[in-house]
Symmetry: C2
Amino acid sequence: MPAPTSAPADPHRHDAKPRRRVGRPAAAVLDQDGITAAALQLIGKSGYDGFTMAALARTLNVAPSALYNHVSSKRDVLVLVQDHLTSFVDVSNFEAEPWDQAVRSWAWSYRDVFSKHTPLIPVIAVLPVTDAPKTLAMYEAVSAGFSRAGFPQGLIVSAIVALESFIFGSAYDVTAPADIFDSGSMADSTPNFTAAVKQQDLEGYDKPADVAFNLGLEAMIARFGTLRG
Amino acid sequence: MPAPTSAPADPHRHDAKPRRRVGRPAAAVLDQDGITAAALQLIGKSGYDGFTMAALARTLNVAPSALYNHVSSKRDVLVLVQDHLTSFVDVSNFEAEPWDQAVRSWAWSYRDVFSKHTPLIPVIAVLPVTDAPKTLAMYEAVSAGFSRAGFPQGLIVSAIVALESFIFGSAYDVTAPADIFDSGSMADSTPNFTAAVKQQDLEGYDKPADVAFNLGLEAMIARFGTLRG
DNA sequence: ATCGTAAATGAACGGCATTCATTTAGTGGT
DNA sequence: ACCACTAAATGAATGCCGTTCATTTACGAT
């Protein structure tokens, strides 16, 4: 039976709250840039776990299905975010500084940007550059720098890819827990490794991920430098 | 109305098929090794997209919920698979061959194994070694090799991490589409990059991913070799 | 004026990992 | 020999999630 105070059911009655607007709005409230910005903000606040199409729609005050008028999938949104983030990577030094300095600042900033966005790495790694204009612009700036520095034309892409692979792998490394190499109760059966880990802990001023990144990056810079004509 | 030939509903009647067995089986049909093997086989057949707990259970002739008596999550299964795969990585050369040769064969086999399993990389990269005994065994073999080769104790872990980061990043690279760098209609605005890609295509006998991996790996081997005491 | 279309809604769908009450059959203790 | 305990299965249910679709509406062009 109905609650005593409730009015009888009437499908046509007016609610206290006005009906939510439906249909074409006065001006479009959504576009790809707005979606990208909202996505980036949501990811910053809730991480990639909390980043769902429903949550994204909520921050935009819109129904989830409305998003699909502007993007074709969640992956699409991730691509937009990825491309936007790439514009934060520092390529400025390829214009003024010497080649090795430029590579260094490029690589460090690239790693730093994506170490906070490792879930994008599987997306980037297989994404055609056509779908990511800002990323393409980065490649242009970097390869122009390599070219100007006298790098053999046929090796430029390979060298960039090698550096990029190292950068992506190292971005994961940044997010690893500090005690990831603690062998715990199995220390007895792994004496060499356990000793190496202990020694590293003793010597390390900097964060282990930074030491490893520096080591690999300098190796590549040194060796690739000898390839310049 | 019921179909003419159907018997009246009777909750106690015996079906033609015997009731599915419920409750404790004569002998346990599941264990972690069996789950790991089945998971690996399923991934091989259906890829990581087709790899669901329901599908895994189906291949084992078991209800999905039964899996949770032996693993605590899907991630758990992925960890088991990851650890198993690591035993396919070749560390044998650290015992007989010179250091640089050993690193080479280790790195190539490591990359080859996980290039077919890139969805595991985010799992490995942050996984405490305690949870992956075979992975820990690999680290022991590798760090023993570095130690025997006269590598300074405090740098061994950093060097391995740098190599590993490069390996993981390069594993993604293997899976990238061949025309990933085709700049298409934007070629005009990226002359340097477009030229570099074209030149690479002309010169390349080997697969681009292999050229890049070789380039980076040899850079690291050469540089790290100079650190040995 | 009218017509087409862009852009919103909300209901529905299928799939996913995971949880839970329940059932059963071995195991170990008395 | 009996009983209590527990390991290991079932299947129903839960709560998300990404995505689709019919429907509604208002702007802009003809």
